[in-house]
Amino acid sequence: MTSTATVQITRHGKPALPHSPIGFDKRLDAHGLKLRSTDVEILQINVGKVCNQACKHCHVDASPKRTESMSAEIVEACLDVLRKYKIPTLDITGGAPELNPYFRRLVTEARKIGAKVMVRHNLTVMFEEGQRDLPEFFRANAIEVVSSLPYFLAQQTDAQRGTGVFDKSVEAIRKLNAVGYGIASSGLILNLVYNPTGAFLPPPQAAIEADFRRELKNRYDLYFNNLYTITNMPIARFLDYLRRSGNEERYVQKLINAFNPSTVAGLMCRNTISVDWRGNLYDCDFNQMLEISVSETVPQTIFDFSPEIFINREIKTAAHCFGCTAGAGSSCGGTVS
C-alpha cells in the first residue's frame, strides 16, 4: 500500500491541491505499483523564488517581488554533498537561479568536483544587470542549458510568460547559438521546454520537436538540441488559472483518464533529491512547493544527507502526481515513456 501525503498549506483560502475524485495512491495500488526511490543520481537544487519573470503557470510562484534565496551556507552544504558522494548530476533551478548571489560559485565548484551541471535558464534573465556574459559563463563551464519556450510564436509564449518575453527569448537563443549552444558540432547542449499554454496536455514530444526545429530555423534562424514536453502541474499559479477559468475539474479528470502505468518506473522522483533554498529535502520540486517533505524515515535536510539512506524510500504522493503520469509521462527531462 502507498499513502497520500497530507498538504497543510492553502492557496487563497482554498486547498493547495486540486480536487481529485480518486487518490494517486489508489490508482497505483490498482495497478499493483509501488513508488520507491532508486539510487540518487540527480541533486536538484532550487536556489530560490527570485525571478525576473512571473509566468502564469509557475509552480514555484516565482517573481521579481520574491526574496527567498539560498544562502552561502546552504550552497556550501550542497557542494559538500556533491563532493563527498559524487552524485553524477547537479540540476539547478529557481526562480531564475542566476539571480542567486552564489550561483556562479555553485556552478564552478560543482564542475571542479566533476558533476554534470544543468541550469534551468529562463533566457530573458540574460538581459538583467550583470548577467550579459551568461552565454560565455555557461560555455566556459560546459553547462547544459535547459530553457522554457512554450511555443515558436509570440502570442502563446507571451500569454504564458509575459509581454515581450518571446522577442527577448529569441534574442537570447541567438546569443546562445552564437557561442555554440544548440549547434550540433559544438557539444554545447541547449534543450528547450514546451509547456502547454492552457488546460490541455502536451503534444507527442517528437512531433512538436520537429515543428519547433523547422519553425525556429525558418522564422528566426535559431537552433537547439532537444525539445522536452512537460505537463502543467495543477498546483500554485496554474491551479489558480484552472480555478479562475473553470477548468479545474476537467483538467484533473483529463490527467486521471490519461494515467499511464508504464510511466511510473521512469518518474524523476525515483532518482532525484530536491533541495529547497533553506536546505530542506523533498522527492521533487513540485512536492517542495507543496511543502511535502521526504519520508520521515530519512533525514530532512541537506546537512544530514547520505545517499545510501535514501535508496528505496517511499516517495510521497498526492493528487498532483497525476500530472507526471499522464500520457507519455512528464519529467524535467520531458516525456518518460
Binding site: 510564436l153 502547454p196 496536455l201 507527442p204 512531433a207 515543428d211
Partner: protein
C-alpha cells in the same frame, strides 16, 4: 412540479454529456463497440499524422455543427501541437467548402430558370 423543475434546467447540449458518451452503450453495446473500434482506429497515426487528422476532425466538426466534436477536436488539435491560426485556417476551408456547396446549387436554379424561360 418535480418534472417541471428538471425541464427548466435541461439544455439540448450539456458540456458534461461529452464525458457520458459511453452511456450510449447501455443499449445495443455491440454496435457502440464496433463504432468505437472504427472511430479510434481513424484517430491513429497513419498516412496522415495525428495532427492532420485532428485538424480534419475540427473542420468537419464545425461543418456538422456538433458542439461536442468542436470541443473535443479543439482540445485534440492543441494537444497535437496546432495553434489557433492553423485551426482557424482549417475552419475557414471547411466553411468555404460548405459555402461553395450551397452556392453551386445556384446552378440548379439557373438551369430551372433556363428551362422555363424564353
Amino acid at each position: 412540479m418535480k418534472i417541471a423543475a428538471k425541464v427548466r434546467f435541461m439544455h439540448y447540449y450539456n458540456e458534461e454529456d461529452l464525458a457520458r458518451f459511453g452511456e450510449i452503450a447501455k443499449s445495443k453495446p455491440e454496435l457502440f463497440e464496433k463504432f468505437m473500434a472504427w472511430y479510434q482506429a481513424c484517430q491513429e497515426d497513419g498516412a496522415l499524422s495525428k495532427r492532420e487528422k485532428a485538424l480534419i476532425g475540427l473542420a468537419v466538426s464545425v461543418v456538422v455543427q456538433c458542439p461536442y466534436c468542436i470541443d473535443a477536436y479543439t482540445q485534440s488539435s492543441l494537444e497535437n501541437g496546432s495553434n489557433m491560426e492553423q485551426m482557424t485556417e482549417a475552419i475557414h476551408l471547411a466553411s468555404a467548402i460548405r459555402g461553395g456547396a450551397s452556392l453551386i446549387h445556384g446552378i440548379q436554379s439557373h438551369n430551372a430558370h433556363d428551362k422555363i424561360s424564353m
